[in-house]
């Protein structure tokens, strides 16, 4: 039994035989071509080009169908490279002049270009060579007629193990009977991981050398919850995982029946249950959960991995698509919480290096420093608001002044739009994230400027307890059950309700079944949870009694340590 630890990319457990997608090093040898065969060698190269073009066409059609336009851009870039004279011309010339085989001519050309790229100091330009290699590799595979085993050849359900999955491979996952997959490369947000999540199959990525350790046909357990791959598991592990799998399936079925039921407590209190939306891909699956709305639409993704800021039209299109896909449900769109390190992605000059980006230029601070960026997003959100029920949420607010500035820009943006002929039937509500303790202490004043509040527990806990969650030396101190956390939650809800406003929780705490009784007990109006946990949280809420958890929270509030808070929860 060998256990390899990777990065959990998509939850769930899969048990089955391994199907290893080979990805061996391609060895190219130099072969002399006789003068009369030179022409046909060039022709062979052209055919390989043609076949690769066809591959890309096929991949594009599938990507468009399953993943959408954003992902298809990569294929466009690859197509351009495939047409590049640097490849087509130089390789042809080498074949003709040096009288060598096409594979050798191609690998020499790639090597020359690689060397040129390696000398480039600018990281962005230097990294473009990875695209070139991707394309070069496909070409070589065609020349060597060593095409990757297609997934469609899969006869029996199996667990897919690969060095890396090319976009064209992952497209077959749905048709092929893949129980789950594991790759050596990739991160939690790579294309393949996102795809696995939307297909709801377990996946582990970033395993470094699993594809060498696992042999075809090996019995494998894939634990997508913890990011583990277990090769040839012992009978004990196998039994344990089989049990867990059965339990998971049973729970899934139990959750399924909850879909159509209202979200109310056992004693009949209706609780709003909203979903968090991180990417456009999720918008489709969220509708099926029948939420009361989107409690947090994170828009950061629009600002990442690009070279200029997203324009108004592009944003309007994205927001409108989400608003329209959820018909009449309310959607809370949070203005981008990006940090100064992202400004270079937007073609702007940012602060050189921030020693503490968490406390640096981010969220509303960054947008007020670059009002044009802010206004573009506000205009786009307002325009989407015409098509449905949209509210605006501001991140990282720490002072009344920031709210006033934001309100001014929002009013300005709306006035401009009205002048341009847009009609707003009702005012668009503006709310703020409560994640900086100062905002809670000043909430009575803050509430004068805003319509609603959303509790971002992740950052709130970090700032309140002064704990960096990713710092291994102190991460154990990050504690949602810390009595101080409960006290600020209490202060927040009290202040908000005193002013007759509405408060939701959108941090991870809302998606934690153990924390839900406390949040319901403190009296929040809505839970906004990750789609993955949506039904689970609904199930939890339906078992709770509002009156009971209210007194539970009152008792939790006067505990000195989180251990005692946990004891209270256990005694329940």
């Amino acid at each position: 039994m060998i256990i390899i630890k990777g990065v959990p990319a998509s939850p769930g457990i899969a048990i089955g035989r391994a199907y290893v997608l080979e990805d061996e090093e391609i060895v190219v040898s130099r072969q002399e071509i006789s003068p009369e065969r030179v022409r046909s060698e060039v022709k062979r190269f052209k055919q390989a080009l043609e076949r690769t073009h066809l591959d890309l066409d096929a991949a594009e059609a599938r990507v468009l169908r399953t993943l959408g336009k954003e992902h298809a851009k990569l294929i466009d870039a690859h197509r351009l490279i495939l047409k590049d004279p640097l490849i087509t011309k130089e390789v042809t010339q080498r074949i003709l002049q040096e009288r060598v085989n096409a594979e050798f001519a191609l690998s020499e050309t790639l090597e020359r270009v690689n060397q040129a790229f390696e000398k480039i100091e600018d990281e962005f330009f230097r990294d473009r060579r990875h695209d070139l290699f991707d394309v070069g590799k496909r070409l070589l595979e065609h020349l060597l007629r060593k095409e990757r085993k297609p997934l469609s050849a899969l006869r029996e359900p199996a667990i897919l193990i690969a060095r890396n999955l090319l976009p064209s491979d992952t497209l077959h996952l749905r048709e092929a009977r893949v129980l789950g997959f594991a790759t050596d490369l990739g991160g939690k947000t790579s294309h393949t991981a996102l795809l696995a999540q939307s297909l709801e199959i377990p996946a582990v990525v970033g395993l470094s050398d699993a594809s060498h350790q696992v042999k075809p046909g090996d019995m494998v357990i894939l634990d997508g919850n913890q990011g583990l791959v277990i090769i040839s598991p012992g009978p004990e592990a196998l039994q344990r995982y089989e049990k867990a799998q059965v339990k998971e399936k049973k729970e899934e079925r139990a959750l399924e029946v909850l879909r159509g039921l209202p979200c109310e407590t056992a004693d009949g209190k209706r609780v709003e249950l909203l979903a968090n939306l991180d990417t456009l891909e999720d918008a489709r699956t969220i509708g099926a959960l029948q939420p009361d709305g989107i409690g947090l639409f994170r828009t950061e993704f629009l600002y990442l991995n690009r070279t200029s800021a997203p324009e108004e039209e592009e944003q309007v299109e994205v927001y409108s698509r989400v608003v329209e896909s959820l018909s009449s449900l309310p959607v809370i769109i949070r203005t981008a919480d990006i940090g100064g390190d992202r400004l270079s992605d937007l073609g702007l000059e940012g602060p050189k290096e921030e020693t503490n980006p968490f406390m640096g230029l981010r969220g509303i601070r960054l947008f007020l420093r670059y009002p044009e960026l802010f206004k573009t997003q506000l205009r786009a959100i307002l325009r989407a608001a015409i098509k449905g029920r949209v509210k605006i949420l501001l991140p990282m607010v720490s002072s009344v002044g920031e709210l006033k500035s934001a309100r001014r820009l929002l009013t300005q943006a709306q006035a401009e739009l009205v002048q341009e002929g847009h009609v707003f039937e009702s005012p668009v509500e503006m709310g703020m994230m409560v994640e900086i303790p100062a905002a809670i202490l000043l909430l009575d004043f803050m509430l004068e400027e805003i319509d609603f509040v959303s509790l971002g527990t992740n950052d709130l806990i970090q700032y309140l307890l002064a704990v960096d969650r990713v710092n291994e030396h102190v991460s154990h101190l990050y504690d949602p059950f810390h009595p101080a956390v409960l006290r600020v939650l209490h202060m927040t809800v009290e202040a908000v309700h005193k002013k007759g406003r509405w408060v939701s929780v959108c941090g991870e705490m809302a998606s934690d079944p153990r924390a839900v009784p406390l949040l319901l007990g403190v009296g929040v109006d809505a839970f906004s949870v990750s789609p993955r946990m949506f039904l689970k949280i609904k199930q939890t809420l339906r078992t709770l009694k509002a009156a009971e958890v209210q007194s539970l929270f009152q008792r939790a509030l006067v505990q000195p340590t989180s251990e005692e808070v946990h004891r209270l929860l256990d005694e329940r």
Partner: protein
């Protein structure tokens, strides 16, 4: 043969999108296009070649076009540079 020197004025220089635009424009004409940055020469019809120049904002590049439709090609390319590749 025609020759002109341009300054790259858009903020990010000849990154992926402008390089693609330039190469596509060059490919639309028969005439050959050579781009020089100092003494480095690349084929103007090659995206990868153009990216290899790693030409940032403010870089001056010399464009040499040769062929029957060289005038049209130069005009089209000149437009790209003067419009900052439609970027800023």
């Amino acid at each position: 043969m025609r020759e002109k020197t341009f300054t790259i004025n858009n903020k990010l220089g000849l990154h992926a999108r402008p390089a693609a635009l330039l190469a596509q424009t060059a490919c639309r004409h028969k005439a050959s296009v050579k781009i020089f940055k100092g003494d480095v020469e690349v084929n103007g019809k090659s995206v990868m070649g153009l990216m290899m120049l790693a030409a940032g904002q403010g870089t001056r590049v010399r464009v040499v076009i040769d062929g029957e439709d060289e005038q049209q090609s130069m005009e089209a390319i000149e437009k790209l540079f003067s419009r900052k590749f439609d970027e800023d």
